[in-house]
Amino acid sequence: MTSMTRALLGATALCAIGATAASAQTLTIATVNNGDMIRMQGLTDDFTSEHPDIQLEWVTLEENVLRQRVTTDIATNGGQYDVITIGNYEVPIWANQQWLAPLEDMPEDYDADDLLPAIAGGLSVDGTLYAAPFYGESAMVMYRTDLAEEAGIDMPDQPTWTDVMAAAEAFNDPDNGTYGICLRGKAGWGENMAFITAMSNSYGARWFDMDWQPQFDSPEWTATLSDYLNMMENYGPPGAANNGFNENLALFQQGRCGIWIDATVAASFVTDPDESTVADNVGFAQFPNKDGVDNHGNWLWSWNLAIPSSSGNVEAAKQFVAWATSKGYTDLVAAEEGWRAAPPGTRTSLYENAEYQDAAPFAAMTLESIDAVDTNAPSVQEIPYTGAQFVSIPEFQGIGTAVGQAFSAALAGQMDAEAALSQAQQITTQEMTASGYIE
């Protein structure tokens, strides 16, 4: 396709439809409809007033849909987006395929050394940064301090699963619309599998052995899944098989959950008095572990802004990425909405800021959880992969989602733990064979 025909087609489109002329530089930004991104969208006047020649177009979608659209576009070299929001799972894989433009020559005040090493490490390939972290998270326990007091339960800072189950039982009061524990159940590698994989890590399980043989037939996995199902069945809310992060957040904000174990980033939303009915009664604790297993789940996720190499506006896109992930942006959010709302988990300076520590009771626990992660050894057993609540291979998206469906079906009561695990084992073996890991 020559640029001539392209121009002709464009001209025809303009004539036929009478579109208004586009400005010199328009950035199309694809992002997730999570709270922090919506906030960013609301603050863009600050960026456009500094860069009057750059216009911003937003594509805001639910996580699964966004991922599908962005991946389709970048893999076919479609060039629809100039800035994309992707996770630390995608960044190294896509960077290796040269789908991402390297973030070199960032503005001087960007201060890449300030980024948390655990986060920045996952976004770099051979020392070059390929995506800028917008916010980072690990996972932790959020629980209702008022309910704990009522029930006379003292949640330790480093609870075990036994502690969590006991607390969930004590908090559970379905007749009054309060459920003991809310966990993710919606199928998807980034939804229920993020949680279940982290939980399995804390139970000492692993996805694959050193020969890439799937390990769902191991006793550790059986323990993980049956405990998960038991908790949800006995103390969970109805409809849990359709609940992801956002659904659970809504439930917790309405005071429907006694305990919620999920991403640390939720902390700023559950403590927001404007949105949360339980803002003053939230306590935090580290991701649980099984008695005797020294592993707190190893959940590490960051949402990052990256620039597809197919973008035609790399320079302008870089300015936007730098703005949205800078210290200046953090200050802007703090000024507009208070320090509690600052995007967490990306910069050391934030956690050294006294004002933030005062405003965000969850700051210390968030940092502690992130620091506790070792992406090189997410399981206590020997493994051939890196990752955290995911396995860092391209095939994982497909496998994770298929396994997630089986587990979600078990949660919905369609099969028991044993059947779900053997289905997971079968699917994974088939996919790993088809892609050549197993002979």
Partner: protein, 290 residues
């Protein structure tokens, strides 16, 4: 009657439509067929080696395929039965003399204008959500246990939502057909002492057969590719409980990014759709001859 001249003119007039549709069908279909013989994963660029029929084999061997096939038939069949039966009853009711018929008709037709994504979102959140939905409040009031529709009966719930969208369509066609019913014939039957039921069975229903045929044909066309409702409400789950063929192909090609496997699934879905089409056209084509 038709002259040679008008025949060739007719051919010229039909050809743009035919050629466009042929291109629309063949070019993407050809590409799909081509991809379906390759190992082609979007996430793994590079060569796409030929793998023969492996994608087809894997797709059919996957137990999800049979579930999806049955779900597709259940969904299409369920919605057809619901909309035709309720549509006939509703049409008969609306045909009766009453006050404010125009307004009632406006109320009944409204769901047809609602885009599928919106109706799925509204039903899922405002009504069927087991904690905050209206049903969660209503059922205990009626002395029933709370029910988690989209988890415990996902396919039935989706069938319900889709039926709600298509009921107006069926009702309106059937209503128009009933209104054209010869009232003298009806009155004569009434005089002869035929019961309301037998009047319905022997006069109304046969009169409606043509309209029912149209409802079935048009709805099947749209129901075979129901997608948005599933994507929004259940993502095909739990497990595969609400996955239809369209959704399965979508999951294969755009959630697993396995274009080869997805294409094989697409080809299979197209073949099956064509079998349904031929079957339907045979059965219905006759009825449409005027």
């Amino acid at each position: 009657m038709a002259t040679q001249h008008s025949r060739s003119a007719a051919r010229v007039m039909i050809s743009p439509a035919v050629l466009l549709l042929l291109a629309w069908m063949l070019i993407p279909l050809g590409m799909t067929l081509y991809f379906s013989f390759q190992r082609y994963n979007l996430l793994m660029p590079g060569a796409h080696p030929w793998v023969g029929l492996m994608n087809y084999k894997l797709f059919i061997q996957n137990p999800a395929f049979w579930t999806a096939l049955i779900n597709t038939l259940l969904l299409v069949g369920g919605v057809l039965i619901a909309t035709v039966v309720l549509g006939v009853l509703l049409a008969i009711l609306l045909d009766q003399p009453m006050w404010g018929q125009g307004i009632v008709r406006i109320l009944v037709i409204a769901p047809f204008f609602v885009m599928p994504t919106v109706s799925a979102l509204v039903w899922k959140n405002l009504f069927m959500n087991p904690v905050n939905g209206l049903f969660a409040w209503l059922l205990p009031k009626l002395g029933m246990a709370p029910y988690d529709f989209l988890t415990q009966a996902p396919l039935a719930s989706i069938t319900f939502i889709v039926s709600w969208q298509w009921l107006p369509f069926a009702t309106l066609i059937l209503l128009t057909a009933i209104q054209s019913l010869d009232s003298e014939q009806m009155e004569a039957a009434e005089m002869d002492g035929a019961s309301a039921l037998s009047r319905f069975w022997y006069i109304t229903l046969p009169h409606l057969s043509r309209a029912i045929t149209v409802v079935v044909l048009i709805q099947t066309i749209f129901l075979l590719s129901v997608f948005a409702e599933i994507l929004v409400t259940t993502n095909g789950g739990p497990g595969n409980a609400s996955t239809n063929l369209t959704y399965l192909v979508y999951a294969r090609s755009l959630l697993n990014f396995d274009v080869g496997g997805g294409s094989a699934g697409g080809v299979i879905a197209i073949i099956l759709a064509n079998i349904v089409a031929i079957f339907l056209m045979r059965a219905i084509g006759k009825n449409l001859d005027a």
